[in-house]
Amino acid sequence: MGFFFNKNKKSDQQLKEAYFTASQVELIRSRFKSNKTAMVAGWILTILILMGFFSEFLSPYQPTMAGRDKKYENGPPQIPKFWDENGFSFRPFIYGTKRERSIKTNFRWVVTVDREDRRYLRFFVDGWEYSYIDLEWDLPGEFFDVDVQALTFSTHLFGVDKGGIHLFGTDKSGKDIYSRTLLAIFTSLKCGVLGVFIAFVLALIIGGISGYYGGWLDSFLQMVTDAIRTVPQVPLFMALAAFLPQEWSAEAVFFVIATILGFIGWPTLARRIRTHVLSERSQDYILAAQLCGASSGHIIRRHLLPSFTSYIIIDLMITFPYMVRLETALSFIGLGLIDPVSSLGSLMQNVSKADVLLNYQWYFIPVLFFITFILAVVFVGDGLRDAADPNMIKKK
């Protein structure tokens, strides 16, 4: 018994030592891990991001017009089955469908399911080609044009022999909603990340200068920051989005939208960074560095930035869902990314009719993904914030 006790005590001592010598990042990580909600949200978020990244591999059809299924428009979801009244099968199957239009159906296309016609699911099938590196820049001058395609694959996780399989159904032009949802998650993610990144760079420069130099420059920059913060975001975004010419390509629109998101989002971040810099600036170690003759640039890069990197990352994580939400809201009212482009907002635009609720409920599936996605990001952000805040240990 004594032996065990001793061993326990020793490991306790070790734990204590580990606790006191742990770096900031390790502490945050261990506190984050003990927060169950945040961990679950973290896993869900990871899965969603992976699904987005491998969307081409996971989706059997192209999410653009090229991948539309002309024979299955507004088609309900097809869920693979293992058994039905005709017996059991190890290989999951779906039913074949027929589409007809006659005087009996009031001249509307009606899709009927043929339960005798089984179509078996196949895995790792060959389909449309996709590349992970696909650069096509049309720069001025023949010589500078970039057209690189690398890591091209054509294998997809699943598919069927004939006809199509649409897990989440199809929209009114026959595009596969499952494929579009996966791509949309990634598009919105990219848009948010780019927006947050631009906002971060702006905030770092403006907030950093403001906090480090202080004085009249600080007052002036704070005034401008506050002024911009008082302008309501969505109307401002709409005013900026008005510059977008209609004929621009989807990629160009995407970049401009992300840039505007960044330009709108920086003031709050800049304020936080200014506060961090301001409180760190008067610390002794900065004074020591100054007395040693270090330049401002060196102090900012080597001393100030590392002192609050973890907090900044968490701030970015908390800002992120707002960015995604803003993009979605704008796309939803038709000012951001519009239909042939798959973003969560443009997918949700399709649900804005009463007709959809009555007849095509599967249009709502992307909405569920959107809510899950935002909730996951929010919980992870909150978990990180709580983990980084040492005062939180006392409470609860």
């Binding site: 002024a227 969505v234 510059f243 009463a354 609720l357 809510i371 909730l375």
Partner: protein, 335 residues
Amino acid sequence: MIKFLQFIMIRAVMSIVTLLIVSFIVFSMMELVPGNCAERYIAFKNTQGQNITIEDIQAEERRLGLDKPYLIRAFTWMGNVFFQGKFGDSCILRLNINHLLSDKIWLSLGMSIGALLLSYLLAVPIGIYSAVSRNPIANNTVRFISYLGLALPSFLFALMIMLFTTVYFGESMSGLFSKEYRDAAWSYAKFMDFLSRAWLPILILGWAATAFALQTVRALMLDEIDKLYVTAARARGIFGRNLLWRYPARHSLGPVINSIGFDLNRIFSELPVVALIMTLTEMGSLLIDALAFSNDQQLAGAILVILTATIVLINFITDIILALMDPRVRQGLLG
């Protein structure tokens, strides 16, 4: 008293400076939109079958004062806005903006402030209750709702309600007035009709703000409730509602009042989207129209300035209320 007036003066000057910066930014943005008013007017004449030349455009530019340098135009515009409250004409709609907006602004502002009031009326008591009660169900429900406020944006919320009412009650809740009152003058009956239809958009506008305010109130109360002065008060035999309202709630009220301006900002952000979904013809959808579909810079600029001015005004008022409420500040100022 003199110190208090001084404080008000400083706050007022700061608010005006903020507004000047904002209106300068807005003016610069209006200038960035391709094409100016002269070209628009002339282009309109062109559609009427008149032939136009470069000279015509230049003459028109001179008439509108568009040939003057950028800064002079900016200051003229800002001067008109500030000292006379005139926003000029919209060159797409060819109407006076003040005339065009007058009614719609009051409706939008009224609805937004109604939403703000509603969200605080809901958030303050519920937030305090959830912070105080150790009931896990109540706590988790409140947490869930406040997270949902973020994840279920008001455009989705509005959409769901619209769809459900149309599908299951057969009656669309869109629009702000019923047919017979749409063009009628304001009267008690019209006001009641307005209320009977406006409660839904107000609720939806307040939805996100409520969720946020709920979180703020709860977090602040949780911070205060374990502090020593509360324990001391409890030891003196004060308990229940008396204790809550007199001690922790009063302390946490300050930051809550401070956040009113930002909540209004949030509501204004929701306004255009909700207005579009619910087909309300007030300021929000006018903004969408002005910006997205017709590039009407003048109108858009006017709306942005008005919205921001409202927020600045609210911030100014809350600053003063905050100063009056905090005994330390109050005694410092009033002597």
